[in-house]
Symmetry: C2
Subunit: 235 residues, 2 copies
Protein backbone atom coordinates (compact mmCIF):
# COMPACT_ATOMS: atom_id res chain seq x y z
CA UNK A 1 0.00 0.00 0.00
CA UNK A 2 1.28 3.44 -0.85
CA UNK A 3 1.47 6.18 1.70
CA UNK A 4 -1.70 8.17 1.31
CA UNK A 5 -0.41 11.11 3.26
CA UNK A 6 2.50 11.67 0.93
CA UNK A 7 0.56 11.72 -2.31
CA UNK A 8 -2.35 14.04 -1.95
CA UNK A 9 -2.14 15.50 1.50
CA UNK A 10 1.20 17.15 1.83
CA UNK A 11 2.07 20.72 0.93
CA UNK A 12 1.00 20.23 -2.67
CA UNK A 13 -2.38 18.71 -2.04
CA UNK A 14 -3.44 21.38 0.37
CA UNK A 15 -2.26 24.20 -1.88
CA UNK A 16 -4.32 22.78 -4.69
CA UNK A 17 -7.35 22.71 -2.45
CA UNK A 18 -6.95 26.43 -2.05
CA UNK A 19 -6.51 26.84 -5.77
CA UNK A 20 -9.89 25.18 -6.30
CA UNK A 21 -11.44 27.64 -3.87
CA UNK A 22 -12.20 24.80 -1.51
CA UNK A 23 -10.43 24.82 1.77
CA UNK A 24 -11.70 22.95 4.77
CA UNK A 25 -8.76 23.61 7.07
CA UNK A 26 -7.75 26.83 8.84
CA UNK A 27 -4.66 28.86 7.95
CA UNK A 28 -2.93 27.59 11.11
CA UNK A 29 -2.76 24.15 9.51
CA UNK A 30 -0.77 25.55 6.57
CA UNK A 31 1.70 27.13 8.97
CA UNK A 32 2.54 24.07 11.05
CA UNK A 33 5.32 21.61 10.08
CA UNK A 34 4.78 19.11 7.30
CA UNK A 35 5.47 16.22 9.69
CA UNK A 36 2.66 17.40 11.92
CA UNK A 37 0.26 17.88 9.02
CA UNK A 38 1.01 14.39 7.72
CA UNK A 39 0.55 12.85 11.16
CA UNK A 40 -2.89 14.44 11.60
CA UNK A 41 -4.07 13.42 8.15
CA UNK A 42 -2.64 9.91 8.37
CA UNK A 43 -4.31 9.16 11.70
CA UNK A 44 -7.59 10.77 10.60
CA UNK A 45 -7.69 8.64 7.44
CA UNK A 46 -7.05 5.50 9.49
CA UNK A 47 -9.81 6.30 11.96
CA UNK A 48 -12.43 7.43 9.44
CA UNK A 49 -11.74 4.44 7.18
CA UNK A 50 -11.97 1.78 9.85
CA UNK A 51 -14.73 3.19 12.09
CA UNK A 52 -16.68 5.34 9.65
CA UNK A 53 -17.35 9.06 10.02
CA UNK A 54 -19.99 8.90 12.75
CA UNK A 55 -18.10 6.60 15.09
CA UNK A 56 -14.88 8.63 14.85
CA UNK A 57 -14.16 11.49 17.24
CA UNK A 58 -11.68 14.34 16.97
CA UNK A 59 -10.65 13.34 20.50
CA UNK A 60 -9.51 9.86 19.37
CA UNK A 61 -7.61 11.33 16.45
CA UNK A 62 -5.97 13.90 18.72
CA UNK A 63 -4.83 11.17 21.15
CA UNK A 64 -3.55 8.76 18.50
CA UNK A 65 -1.72 11.55 16.64
CA UNK A 66 -0.32 12.81 19.93
CA UNK A 67 -1.53 16.33 19.18
CA UNK A 68 -3.50 18.37 21.70
CA UNK A 69 -7.22 18.77 21.14
CA UNK A 70 -6.69 22.55 21.25
CA UNK A 71 -4.24 22.33 18.35
CA UNK A 72 -6.65 20.09 16.44
CA UNK A 73 -9.38 22.73 16.65
CA UNK A 74 -6.92 25.41 15.62
CA UNK A 75 -6.40 23.37 12.41
CA UNK A 76 -10.00 22.37 11.70
CA UNK A 77 -13.23 24.01 12.86
CA UNK A 78 -14.98 20.64 13.20
CA UNK A 79 -14.79 16.91 12.61
CA UNK A 80 -16.78 17.50 9.43
CA UNK A 81 -14.19 19.94 8.10
CA UNK A 82 -11.36 17.50 8.80
CA UNK A 83 -13.30 14.75 7.03
CA UNK A 84 -14.12 16.95 4.04
CA UNK A 85 -10.52 18.06 3.80
CA UNK A 86 -9.54 14.41 3.29
CA UNK A 87 -12.35 13.66 0.85
CA UNK A 88 -11.52 16.78 -1.14
CA UNK A 89 -7.86 15.81 -1.40
CA UNK A 90 -8.86 12.33 -2.53
CA UNK A 91 -11.04 13.93 -5.21
CA UNK A 92 -8.08 15.97 -6.44
CA UNK A 93 -5.95 12.83 -6.57
CA UNK A 94 -8.60 10.94 -8.55
CA UNK A 95 -9.11 13.88 -10.91
CA UNK A 96 -5.39 13.87 -11.68
CA UNK A 97 -5.48 10.15 -12.46
CA UNK A 98 -8.53 10.62 -14.70
CA UNK A 99 -6.85 13.49 -16.51
CA UNK A 100 -3.87 11.24 -17.27
CA UNK A 101 -6.22 8.60 -18.66
CA UNK A 102 -8.05 11.20 -20.71
CA UNK A 103 -4.83 12.64 -22.15
CA UNK A 104 -3.37 9.23 -22.91
CA UNK A 105 -6.37 7.54 -24.50
CA UNK A 106 -6.51 6.86 -28.22
CA UNK A 107 -10.21 6.03 -28.37
CA UNK A 108 -13.10 4.72 -26.29
CA UNK A 109 -11.75 1.16 -26.24
CA UNK A 110 -8.33 2.22 -25.05
CA UNK A 111 -9.92 4.53 -22.48
CA UNK A 112 -12.24 1.83 -21.13
CA UNK A 113 -9.31 -0.56 -20.69
CA UNK A 114 -7.26 2.07 -18.84
CA UNK A 115 -10.21 2.98 -16.60
CA UNK A 116 -10.88 -0.65 -15.68
CA UNK A 117 -7.27 -1.29 -14.69
CA UNK A 118 -7.14 1.99 -12.78
CA UNK A 119 -10.29 1.13 -10.80
CA UNK A 120 -8.56 -1.87 -9.28
CA UNK A 121 -5.22 -0.13 -8.89
CA UNK A 122 -6.75 2.87 -7.12
CA UNK A 123 -8.65 0.57 -4.73
CA UNK A 124 -5.50 -1.42 -3.92
CA UNK A 125 -3.19 1.61 -3.66
CA UNK A 126 -5.57 3.60 -1.46
CA UNK A 127 -7.80 1.13 0.40
CA UNK A 128 -8.62 3.61 3.16
CA UNK A 129 -9.64 6.42 0.80
CA UNK A 130 -11.92 3.98 -0.96
CA UNK A 131 -13.50 2.97 2.34
CA UNK A 132 -14.05 6.63 3.16
CA UNK A 133 -15.61 7.09 -0.26
CA UNK A 134 -18.14 4.31 0.46
CA UNK A 135 -19.11 6.19 3.61
CA UNK A 136 -19.71 9.44 1.71
CA UNK A 137 -22.25 7.76 -0.60
CA UNK A 138 -24.55 6.75 2.28
CA UNK A 139 -27.65 8.80 2.99
CA UNK A 140 -26.57 9.77 6.51
CA UNK A 141 -23.66 11.79 5.07
CA UNK A 142 -25.61 13.26 2.16
CA UNK A 143 -25.56 16.79 3.62
CA UNK A 144 -21.78 16.81 3.11
CA UNK A 145 -21.87 16.17 -0.63
CA UNK A 146 -23.44 19.59 -1.00
CA UNK A 147 -20.45 21.23 0.66
CA UNK A 148 -18.08 19.34 -1.62
CA UNK A 149 -19.91 19.84 -4.92
CA UNK A 150 -17.03 17.99 -6.49
CA UNK A 151 -16.10 18.30 -10.12
CA UNK A 152 -14.94 14.70 -9.98
CA UNK A 153 -18.27 13.09 -10.81
CA UNK A 154 -18.50 15.33 -13.90
CA UNK A 155 -15.19 14.30 -15.44
CA UNK A 156 -16.00 10.64 -16.18
CA UNK A 157 -19.42 11.16 -17.81
CA UNK A 158 -18.03 13.79 -20.16
CA UNK A 159 -14.92 11.77 -21.01
CA UNK A 160 -16.81 8.56 -21.81
CA UNK A 161 -19.71 10.21 -23.67
CA UNK A 162 -17.35 12.27 -25.87
CA UNK A 163 -15.26 9.26 -26.83
CA UNK A 164 -18.34 7.18 -27.61
CA UNK A 165 -19.71 10.01 -29.75
CA UNK A 166 -16.40 10.22 -31.59
CA UNK A 167 -16.35 6.45 -32.22
CA UNK A 168 -19.90 6.73 -33.60
CA UNK A 169 -18.82 9.53 -35.93
CA UNK A 170 -15.82 7.49 -37.07
CA UNK A 171 -18.08 4.53 -37.81
CA UNK A 172 -16.20 2.38 -35.28
CA UNK A 173 -19.31 1.50 -33.27
CA UNK A 174 -23.06 1.33 -33.90
CA UNK A 175 -24.88 4.65 -34.27
CA UNK A 176 -27.89 3.28 -32.35
CA UNK A 177 -26.13 3.57 -29.03
CA UNK A 178 -27.18 6.27 -26.57
CA UNK A 179 -23.80 7.60 -25.44
CA UNK A 180 -25.04 8.91 -22.09
CA UNK A 181 -26.76 5.70 -21.04
CA UNK A 182 -23.80 3.65 -22.29
CA UNK A 183 -21.38 5.81 -20.27
CA UNK A 184 -23.55 5.33 -17.19
CA UNK A 185 -23.61 1.52 -17.64
CA UNK A 186 -19.86 1.34 -18.17
CA UNK A 187 -19.13 3.45 -15.11
CA UNK A 188 -21.57 1.37 -13.06
CA UNK A 189 -19.49 -1.70 -13.91
CA UNK A 190 -16.26 0.11 -13.02
CA UNK A 191 -17.46 1.58 -9.74
CA UNK A 192 -18.69 -1.77 -8.47
CA UNK A 193 -15.41 -3.30 -9.63
CA UNK A 194 -13.52 -0.70 -7.61
CA UNK A 195 -15.78 -1.33 -4.60
CA UNK A 196 -15.02 -5.05 -5.01
CA UNK A 197 -11.48 -4.32 -3.79
CA UNK A 198 -12.53 -1.74 -1.19
CA UNK A 199 -14.72 -3.27 1.53
CA UNK A 200 -15.07 -6.82 2.86
CA UNK A 201 -18.73 -6.85 1.89
CA UNK A 202 -18.01 -6.17 -1.78
CA UNK A 203 -14.97 -8.46 -1.81
CA UNK A 204 -17.20 -11.33 -0.69
CA UNK A 205 -19.83 -10.40 -3.31
CA UNK A 206 -17.26 -10.51 -6.12
CA UNK A 207 -15.97 -13.86 -4.86
CA UNK A 208 -19.48 -15.32 -4.99
CA UNK A 209 -20.05 -14.02 -8.53
CA UNK A 210 -16.72 -15.04 -10.02
CA UNK A 211 -15.57 -17.94 -7.87
CA UNK A 212 -12.29 -18.26 -6.01
CA UNK A 213 -10.45 -19.78 -9.01
CA UNK A 214 -11.26 -16.94 -11.42
CA UNK A 215 -10.08 -14.38 -8.88
CA UNK A 216 -6.66 -16.01 -9.05
CA UNK A 217 -6.54 -15.02 -12.73
CA UNK A 218 -7.65 -11.41 -12.49
CA UNK A 219 -6.11 -10.48 -15.87
CA UNK A 220 -8.46 -12.94 -17.54
CA UNK A 221 -11.41 -11.52 -15.58
CA UNK A 222 -10.50 -8.05 -16.81
CA UNK A 223 -10.25 -9.32 -20.40
CA UNK A 224 -13.75 -10.77 -20.04
CA UNK A 225 -15.16 -7.57 -18.54
CA UNK A 226 -13.66 -5.62 -21.45
CA UNK A 227 -15.10 -8.16 -23.87
CA UNK A 228 -18.53 -7.62 -22.33
CA UNK A 229 -18.26 -3.84 -22.70
CA UNK A 230 -16.78 -3.90 -26.23
CA UNK A 231 -19.58 -6.18 -27.30
CA UNK A 232 -22.16 -3.84 -25.70
CA UNK A 233 -20.62 -0.97 -27.69
CA UNK A 234 -21.14 -3.06 -30.81
CA UNK A 235 -17.46 -3.33 -31.67
CA UNK B 1 -43.94 4.72 -0.35
CA UNK B 2 -45.22 1.44 1.04
CA UNK B 3 -45.28 0.69 4.70
CA UNK B 4 -42.11 -1.23 5.37
CA UNK B 5 -43.27 -2.49 8.72
CA UNK B 6 -46.28 -4.24 7.26
CA UNK B 7 -44.51 -6.21 4.56
CA UNK B 8 -41.55 -7.95 6.03
CA UNK B 9 -41.55 -7.11 9.69
CA UNK B 10 -44.86 -8.19 11.13
CA UNK B 11 -45.77 -11.61 12.45
CA UNK B 12 -44.86 -13.30 9.16
CA UNK B 13 -41.44 -11.79 8.66
CA UNK B 14 -40.24 -12.60 12.12
CA UNK B 15 -41.51 -16.16 11.96
CA UNK B 16 -39.65 -16.66 8.72
CA UNK B 17 -36.49 -15.38 10.35
CA UNK B 18 -36.84 -18.23 12.81
CA UNK B 19 -37.45 -20.67 9.99
CA UNK B 20 -34.10 -19.68 8.48
CA UNK B 21 -32.45 -20.32 11.83
CA UNK B 22 -31.58 -16.69 12.09
CA UNK B 23 -33.18 -14.79 14.86
CA UNK B 24 -31.79 -11.57 16.17
CA UNK B 25 -34.61 -10.73 18.58
CA UNK B 26 -35.50 -12.33 21.90
CA UNK B 27 -38.63 -14.44 22.49
CA UNK B 28 -40.22 -11.56 24.42
CA UNK B 29 -40.50 -9.65 21.14
CA UNK B 30 -42.61 -12.45 19.61
CA UNK B 31 -44.94 -12.33 22.61
CA UNK B 32 -45.72 -8.61 22.59
CA UNK B 33 -48.58 -7.11 20.52
CA UNK B 34 -48.18 -6.67 16.79
CA UNK B 35 -48.79 -2.91 17.12
CA UNK B 36 -45.88 -2.64 19.49
CA UNK B 37 -43.61 -4.75 17.28
CA UNK B 38 -44.45 -2.63 14.26
CA UNK B 39 -43.85 0.60 16.16
CA UNK B 40 -40.37 -0.50 17.28
CA UNK B 41 -39.37 -1.67 13.81
CA UNK B 42 -40.82 1.36 12.05
CA UNK B 43 -39.00 3.85 14.26
CA UNK B 44 -35.77 1.83 14.15
CA UNK B 45 -35.85 1.76 10.34
CA UNK B 46 -36.41 5.52 10.23
CA UNK B 47 -33.54 6.23 12.59
CA UNK B 48 -31.03 3.81 11.06
CA UNK B 49 -31.85 4.97 7.52
CA UNK B 50 -31.53 8.69 8.17
CA UNK B 51 -28.66 8.77 10.69
CA UNK B 52 -26.79 5.57 9.83
CA UNK B 53 -26.05 2.72 12.24
CA UNK B 54 -23.29 4.39 14.27
CA UNK B 55 -25.10 7.65 14.94
CA UNK B 56 -28.30 5.91 16.05
CA UNK B 57 -28.86 4.96 19.69
CA UNK B 58 -31.33 2.50 21.22
CA UNK B 59 -32.21 5.37 23.57
CA UNK B 60 -33.44 7.58 20.70
CA UNK B 61 -35.47 4.73 19.25
CA UNK B 62 -36.97 3.98 22.64
CA UNK B 63 -38.02 7.62 23.13
CA UNK B 64 -39.43 8.09 19.62
CA UNK B 65 -41.33 4.78 19.77
CA UNK B 66 -42.56 5.68 23.26
CA UNK B 67 -41.36 2.33 24.60
CA UNK B 68 -39.25 2.07 27.75
CA UNK B 69 -35.56 1.35 27.37
CA UNK B 70 -36.04 -1.68 29.65
CA UNK B 71 -38.63 -3.12 27.27
CA UNK B 72 -36.32 -2.41 24.30
CA UNK B 73 -33.55 -4.51 25.86
CA UNK B 74 -36.04 -7.25 26.68
CA UNK B 75 -36.72 -7.42 22.91
CA UNK B 76 -33.16 -7.07 21.59
CA UNK B 77 -29.87 -7.81 23.34
CA UNK B 78 -28.14 -4.90 21.60
CA UNK B 79 -28.40 -2.17 18.98
CA UNK B 80 -26.54 -4.52 16.65
CA UNK B 81 -29.18 -7.23 17.07
CA UNK B 82 -32.01 -4.78 16.36
CA UNK B 83 -30.18 -3.57 13.25
CA UNK B 84 -29.47 -7.11 12.03
CA UNK B 85 -33.07 -8.08 12.64
CA UNK B 86 -34.12 -5.38 10.17
CA UNK B 87 -31.43 -6.21 7.60
CA UNK B 88 -32.31 -9.91 7.82
CA UNK B 89 -36.00 -9.17 7.22
CA UNK B 90 -35.09 -7.01 4.24
CA UNK B 91 -33.02 -9.89 2.87
CA UNK B 92 -36.02 -12.21 3.19
CA UNK B 93 -38.20 -9.69 1.37
CA UNK B 94 -35.65 -9.32 -1.46
CA UNK B 95 -35.21 -13.09 -1.73
CA UNK B 96 -38.98 -13.47 -2.20
CA UNK B 97 -38.97 -10.87 -4.97
CA UNK B 98 -36.02 -12.58 -6.67
CA UNK B 99 -37.73 -15.96 -6.42
CA UNK B 100 -40.79 -14.52 -8.19
CA UNK B 101 -38.54 -13.17 -10.95
CA UNK B 102 -36.78 -16.51 -11.23
CA UNK B 103 -40.04 -18.47 -11.42
CA UNK B 104 -41.58 -16.08 -13.93
CA UNK B 105 -38.67 -15.63 -16.35
CA UNK B 106 -38.73 -17.22 -19.79
CA UNK B 107 -35.07 -16.69 -20.55
CA UNK B 108 -32.09 -14.47 -19.75
CA UNK B 109 -33.49 -11.49 -21.70
CA UNK B 110 -36.84 -11.63 -19.93
CA UNK B 111 -35.09 -12.08 -16.58
CA UNK B 112 -32.75 -9.14 -17.13
CA UNK B 113 -35.69 -6.88 -18.02
CA UNK B 114 -37.60 -7.93 -14.88
CA UNK B 115 -34.55 -7.44 -12.67
CA UNK B 116 -33.89 -3.97 -14.05
CA UNK B 117 -37.45 -2.80 -13.42
CA UNK B 118 -37.44 -4.41 -9.98
CA UNK B 119 -34.21 -2.62 -9.00
CA UNK B 120 -35.92 0.75 -9.40
CA UNK B 121 -39.21 -0.40 -7.91
CA UNK B 122 -37.53 -1.85 -4.83
CA UNK B 123 -35.55 1.35 -4.29
CA UNK B 124 -38.69 3.50 -4.62
CA UNK B 125 -40.93 1.21 -2.55
CA UNK B 126 -38.43 0.82 0.27
CA UNK B 127 -36.14 3.85 0.28
CA UNK B 128 -35.17 3.40 3.92
CA UNK B 129 -34.24 -0.26 3.55
CA UNK B 130 -32.06 0.69 0.61
CA UNK B 131 -30.35 3.38 2.65
CA UNK B 132 -29.71 0.84 5.40
CA UNK B 133 -28.30 -1.53 2.78
CA UNK B 134 -25.78 1.12 1.67
CA UNK B 135 -24.64 1.38 5.28
CA UNK B 136 -24.08 -2.40 5.55
CA UNK B 137 -21.68 -2.38 2.59
CA UNK B 138 -19.26 0.06 4.25
CA UNK B 139 -16.10 -1.25 5.86
CA UNK B 140 -17.01 -0.01 9.36
CA UNK B 141 -19.95 -2.45 9.47
CA UNK B 142 -18.12 -5.35 7.85
CA UNK B 143 -18.07 -7.39 11.08
CA UNK B 144 -21.86 -7.65 10.84
CA UNK B 145 -21.95 -9.28 7.40
CA UNK B 146 -20.35 -12.32 8.99
CA UNK B 147 -23.26 -12.67 11.42
CA UNK B 148 -25.75 -12.37 8.58
CA UNK B 149 -24.08 -14.73 6.10
CA UNK B 150 -27.05 -14.04 3.87
CA UNK B 151 -28.14 -16.36 1.11
CA UNK B 152 -29.34 -13.30 -0.79
CA UNK B 153 -26.08 -12.52 -2.54
CA UNK B 154 -25.95 -16.13 -3.76
CA UNK B 155 -29.35 -16.13 -5.48
CA UNK B 156 -28.63 -13.58 -8.21
CA UNK B 157 -25.27 -14.98 -9.42
CA UNK B 158 -26.74 -18.46 -9.76
CA UNK B 159 -29.91 -17.26 -11.48
CA UNK B 160 -28.10 -15.12 -14.06
CA UNK B 161 -25.28 -17.57 -14.77
CA UNK B 162 -27.71 -20.49 -15.28
CA UNK B 163 -29.89 -18.53 -17.69
CA UNK B 164 -26.88 -17.32 -19.67
CA UNK B 165 -25.55 -20.89 -19.85
CA UNK B 166 -28.95 -22.06 -21.08
CA UNK B 167 -29.09 -19.33 -23.75
CA UNK B 168 -25.61 -20.41 -24.89
CA UNK B 169 -26.75 -24.04 -25.15
CA UNK B 170 -29.84 -22.96 -27.10
CA UNK B 171 -27.66 -20.99 -29.50
CA UNK B 172 -29.44 -17.74 -28.58
CA UNK B 173 -26.25 -15.93 -27.59
CA UNK B 174 -22.56 -16.20 -28.38
CA UNK B 175 -20.70 -19.15 -26.85
CA UNK B 176 -17.62 -16.98 -26.23
CA UNK B 177 -19.22 -15.28 -23.26
CA UNK B 178 -18.00 -16.12 -19.76
CA UNK B 179 -21.30 -16.49 -17.90
CA UNK B 180 -19.89 -15.67 -14.46
CA UNK B 181 -18.17 -12.46 -15.54
CA UNK B 182 -21.22 -11.47 -17.60
CA UNK B 183 -23.51 -12.03 -14.58
CA UNK B 184 -21.21 -9.91 -12.45
CA UNK B 185 -21.21 -7.05 -15.01
CA UNK B 186 -25.01 -7.16 -15.37
CA UNK B 187 -25.55 -7.12 -11.62
CA UNK B 188 -23.04 -4.27 -11.25
CA UNK B 189 -25.21 -2.22 -13.60
CA UNK B 190 -28.37 -3.14 -11.68
CA UNK B 191 -26.99 -2.48 -8.21
CA UNK B 192 -25.75 0.97 -9.15
CA UNK B 193 -29.09 1.62 -10.82
CA UNK B 194 -30.85 0.66 -7.59
CA UNK B 195 -28.45 2.88 -5.60
CA UNK B 196 -29.31 5.70 -8.03
CA UNK B 197 -32.75 5.85 -6.44
CA UNK B 198 -31.54 5.21 -2.89
CA UNK B 199 -29.26 8.00 -1.65
CA UNK B 200 -28.91 11.65 -2.61
CA UNK B 201 -25.30 11.07 -3.59
CA UNK B 202 -26.18 8.42 -6.16
CA UNK B 203 -29.24 10.34 -7.37
CA UNK B 204 -27.01 13.28 -8.20
CA UNK B 205 -24.50 10.98 -9.92
CA UNK B 206 -27.20 9.51 -12.17
CA UNK B 207 -28.47 12.99 -13.00
CA UNK B 208 -25.00 14.07 -14.10
CA UNK B 209 -24.58 10.96 -16.28
CA UNK B 210 -27.99 10.98 -17.94
CA UNK B 211 -29.08 14.61 -17.78
CA UNK B 212 -32.28 16.00 -16.28
CA UNK B 213 -34.28 15.55 -19.50
CA UNK B 214 -33.54 11.85 -19.89
CA UNK B 215 -34.57 11.20 -16.30
CA UNK B 216 -38.02 12.48 -17.20
CA UNK B 217 -38.28 9.58 -19.65
CA UNK B 218 -37.10 6.73 -17.44
CA UNK B 219 -38.79 4.05 -19.60
CA UNK B 220 -36.55 5.08 -22.48
CA UNK B 221 -33.51 5.00 -20.21
CA UNK B 222 -34.42 1.46 -19.18
CA UNK B 223 -34.85 0.45 -22.82
CA UNK B 224 -31.38 1.79 -23.54
CA UNK B 225 -29.84 0.01 -20.53
CA UNK B 226 -31.45 -3.23 -21.73
CA UNK B 227 -30.16 -2.56 -25.23
CA UNK B 228 -26.64 -2.16 -23.83
CA UNK B 229 -26.88 -5.48 -21.94
CA UNK B 230 -28.53 -7.42 -24.82
CA UNK B 231 -25.82 -6.21 -27.13
CA UNK B 232 -23.15 -7.26 -24.60
CA UNK B 233 -24.71 -10.72 -24.51
CA UNK B 234 -24.39 -10.79 -28.28
CA UNK B 235 -28.12 -11.04 -28.96
Amino acid sequence: MRSVASDGYGETGMKENTARNKKFHKDTFDKTTEDRRQKVIEVAIEEFASKGYSATSINDISKKANISIGAMYSYFASKEDLFLSIVNSADILMEKILKDISDGSEDIFDCVEKMLKTSRKFALDYPQLNQIYLDITTQALSHMSVRLSSELERVTPKLLANLIQQAKNDGKITKNLDERVASYCIDNIFMMYQFSFSSDYYKERMKIFLGEDKLQAIDQVEKNILGFIYSALGK
